[in-house]
Symmetry: C2
Subunit: 346 residues, 2 copies
DNA sequence: ATGTCCTCTGACAACGTTGTCAGAGTGTCT
DNA sequence: AGACACTCTGACAACGTTGTCAGAGGACAT
C-alpha cells in the first residue's frame, strides 16, 4: 500500500517540469545537457530536479532513443562463485564500467537449459551484447540473440560453430608444454586426469597431453587416463586406485583446478606427494604454500575476460569483420611438484 | 549499417500481428496467456510469432505495466573475483533465478564513490531492490533509492543507520570464540592482525578479540596489534617484525582471509609455523592441506547471501515490518594451527 | 423479429522518455 | 517600419508494450 504509493510517486519529467514551471521537454533538455536552454531556466530546472530527487528512467529512455541501446551486456559463466569465473567477471566488469555499461550475469552450471534460460532473459531485456562460456551441447539456442543483431562472444570455449567470436586459453599447447616439462624431468609414464570429453577445454587439454606423448614417442596407456566429472571422495578414490595399480604412473597431469586439488588429497592419502610428480592446468591461490609447491599451467583469466569484453564492444560499435578466434597464451609456473624426478626410472 | 538494420528489424507485436492478420493487442494477449482468445486464432498467432522469432521487449513491458516491476535486483559487492563475494553472489543468484529475477552486480572495491555510481546506475534502471555490501564512509548516498520505494538490504556489514535491513556474520562473538580457543590452549600473549577500523567487520572482530582477552583478564598490548590495510610484502614484513620483537606473541588471530594468508607466509619466512599458533577469521580453500592445517572461524557466506536475497524479496513483496538485523552464526573449524601450545609458557 | 447476453476482437490511451517541428520573442540590419 | 535571423521554448508524436473500453457477431430466449 504505502509501498505502491511510494513507488508511483517516483518523480518524472512532468513532475519536475510542473515544479519549475516549464514544459517537460525543457526538463529533458536540461537533464541530457542538450544545447539551447537559457542558463537561468536551466538552473531553475536543476534546482527543481534536485528538490524532487529526480532520476531519469533509463528503461523509458532507451525505449524511445533511436539507437536502441540499453547500455547493458549479459555474461553467462559456469559459476560466479568459482575463482576462475570470478576473475573473468571482474575483468569484464572493469571494461564495461569504463564505458558506462551495466553487466547482467548468471551461472549456468554447465547446463544447457539453464544457459538457454539466461540467454532468453538477456534477449528479452535487449542487452547490447552477450559474453558466454558455453556449456556442452547444442549451441544453436545460445545464438538466438545474434540473429537479431545482439553481439555474441564466446569465452573460454570455442565452439566448432564458425560465425562467432571466441576468446580462449591456449589449452592444447599449454597442456602439451606441461606434459613435456614432466617428460624433460625423466618421466615416461604420465597419468592424465581430466573432465569429461564433452567439455571443450577438457578435450583440448587431453589432445595437448597426447601431442606431448607423441612428440616424445611415448605410448598412450588408457589405464592411467581418467576423463570424467567425479568430485571429491569418488575422484580421490579413483586416483588412489591408479596409484596402487601394478604399474603406477610416476607423474600426473591434471586438467583442471578442482581435479588438481582432489589429486593432491589423493597423493597425500597415499603418502606419495613428494614422490609422484604433478602439474595442474590452471593456477589457484596458495598453490605456492603447499608442500610441495604446485607447478601449474596458469591461465590469464583476467586477460581473457578483458579481451572478450573489448571484442563484444567492438562488435556493438559496428565492427563486422569475420569472426575472430583469440588464443590467450598460458604460463608455466614451477613450484616443485612438477620438478620431482621419477623414483624408479625404467 | 547492416548492424542498425538488423537491430531495427527486431520484430515487434505489430510485425507478428501483421503476419497473423490480427490486431497487435491480440498478439499481446496470446503472448501473455490472457484468456479470451479463440484457440484457432491463438494458434495462428503463435505460428507467426515463432516464424519471426519474436521476443517480447521486457523493458517496454515493464514501462507500461502497472506494478512498475522490472524483475531485477542490484547487488553491490566488494569484488566479484574474491571467493567470499562470489559465494554470496551465487546464493543471491539462486534465490533470484527461482523467482525469475535478474541480478545486476558490480564491485565497488571498498570505494564509496564507486558504490555510489553503481547505486545510481541501479536506480536509473529501476531495479526492484538492492543488496549492498556497504563500503566504509557515509552511507546516506547508498540509500538514495530507498526513499523512492526501492528495497535495500545491507549485507556483511551493518551500518549504525537504523532504517535498513542487514544480514551479517556473528563477527564479534566468532572472533571472541577463536581467541578464547587460543587462550584455552595456554596462550597468554595473542597478537591481532586486522583490517583498518573503518571497515565495520574489522572493528567488530577486533572488539571480539578484546572481549575474549577481557573475559580472561588478559591485558591488551598494542605492540602486538596491527590494524591497517597493507597487502602482500609490506604486511608480511610487519608480521615478521612483530615475531622478531623482544616479547613476541605465542599466538596470532587474523581478522580476514588475505591477512591470514600473508601471515602464513610470514610465519614460514620465519620458520615458526609449527610453533606460533594461528586462527583466521573466514575459511578458504585448501586451508586443510597446508602444514599445519589452518584453524578458522568459518562464515556461512552462502547462508548470508541466501538470507539477504530472501529479505529483499520480502520487502519487495510489501513487507513493512521494522528493519531487521539478521546475525548469521559462525563455526570454529579446528585443523591444527589453532591447537599449537605455547612454546614458552610464562 | 427483437432484445439480451456472451465471446471474441480491435481502437485507443498511457507508461516516461526523446526526436521533430513550429512558433514566440528578441535583436539587427536595411 | 519591415524583413530577417537567431535563440529559446513547447506541442506533439513515437518507441513497444498493456489496460480499458466499446463494438462486432453469434447464440439464445422472448
Amino acid at each position: 500500500m504505502s509501498k505502491t504509493e511510494a513507488r508511483s510517486r517516483r518523480p518524472t519529467l512532468r513532475d519536475v517540469a510542473a515544479l519549475a514551471g516549464v514544459s517537460y521537454k525543457t526538463v529533458s533538455r536540461v537533464v541530457n545537457d542538450e544545447p539551447g536552454v537559457s542558463p537561468t531556466l536551466a538552473e531553475r530546472v536543476r534546482q527543481a530536479s534536485a528538490q524532487l530527487d529526480y532520476h531519469p528512467d533509463h528503461t523509458a529512455s532507451s525505449l524511445r532513443r533511436g539507437d536502441r541501446r540499453t547500455a547493458s551486456i549479459g555474461l553467462i559463466l559456469e559459476d560466479v562463485s568459482n575463482p576462475f569465473s570470478g576473475a573473468m567477471y571482474r575483468a569484464v566488469e572493469d571494461v564495461a564500467l569504463a564505458r558506462g555499461v551495466t553487466v547482467l550475469a548468471g551461472s549456468c552450471d554447465e547446463e544447457a537449459t539453464r544457459a538457454r534460460t539466461l540467454v532468453n532473459e538477456f534477449v528479452n531485456r535487449r542487452v547490447d551484447g552477450m559474453i558466454v562460456v558455453p556449456p556442452p551441447g547444442d549451441l544453436a539456442p545460445l545464438l538466438l540473440g545474434q540473429r537479431n543483431g545482439t553481439a555474441v562472444v564466446f569465452l573460454d570455449r570455442a565452439p566448432t560453430y564458425s560465425g562467432v567470436d571466441a576468446v580462449v586459453s591456449d589449452n592444447r599447447r599449454g597442456a602439451a608444454r606441461g606434459v613435456a616439462h614432466l617428460i624433460r624431468h625423466g618421466h615416461r609414464r604420465i597419468g592424465f586426469l581430466g573432465d569429461e570429453p564433452t567439455i571443450w577445454t577438457a578435450e583440448e587439454r587431453y589432445q595437448g597431453y597426447l601431442d606431448a606423448l607423441a612428440a616424445h614417442d611415448l605410448p598412450v596407456d588408457l589405464d592411467i587416463v581418467r576423463r570424467d566429472s567425479q568430485h571429491g571422495e569418488a575422484r580421490i578414490q579413483a586416483v588412489v586406485a591408479m596409484l596402487s595399480a601394478s604399474e603406477p604412473p610416476t607423474a600426473l597431469f591434471t586438467g583442471q583446478n578442482l581435479i588438481t586439488m582432489d589429486t593432491i588429497r589423493a597423493l597425500r592419502a597415499h603418502g606419495r606427494e613428494h614422490h609422484v610428480a604433478m602439474i595442474g592446468f590452471d593456477d589457484f591461490q596458495l598453490a605456492d604454500l603447499l608442500e610441495p609447491g604446485v607447478t601449474v599451467i596458469a591461465q590469464d583469466s583476467t586477460g581473457m575476460g578483458h579481451r572478450a569484453a573489448e571484442l563484444v564492444f567492438e562488435r556493438i560499435a559496428g565492427d563486422d569483420r569475420p569472426a575472430q578466434l583469440e588464443i590467450i597464451p598460458t604460463r608455466l609456473i614451477t613450484r616443485g611438484s612438477g620438478e620431482i624426478h621419477p623414483a624408479y626410472p625404467d
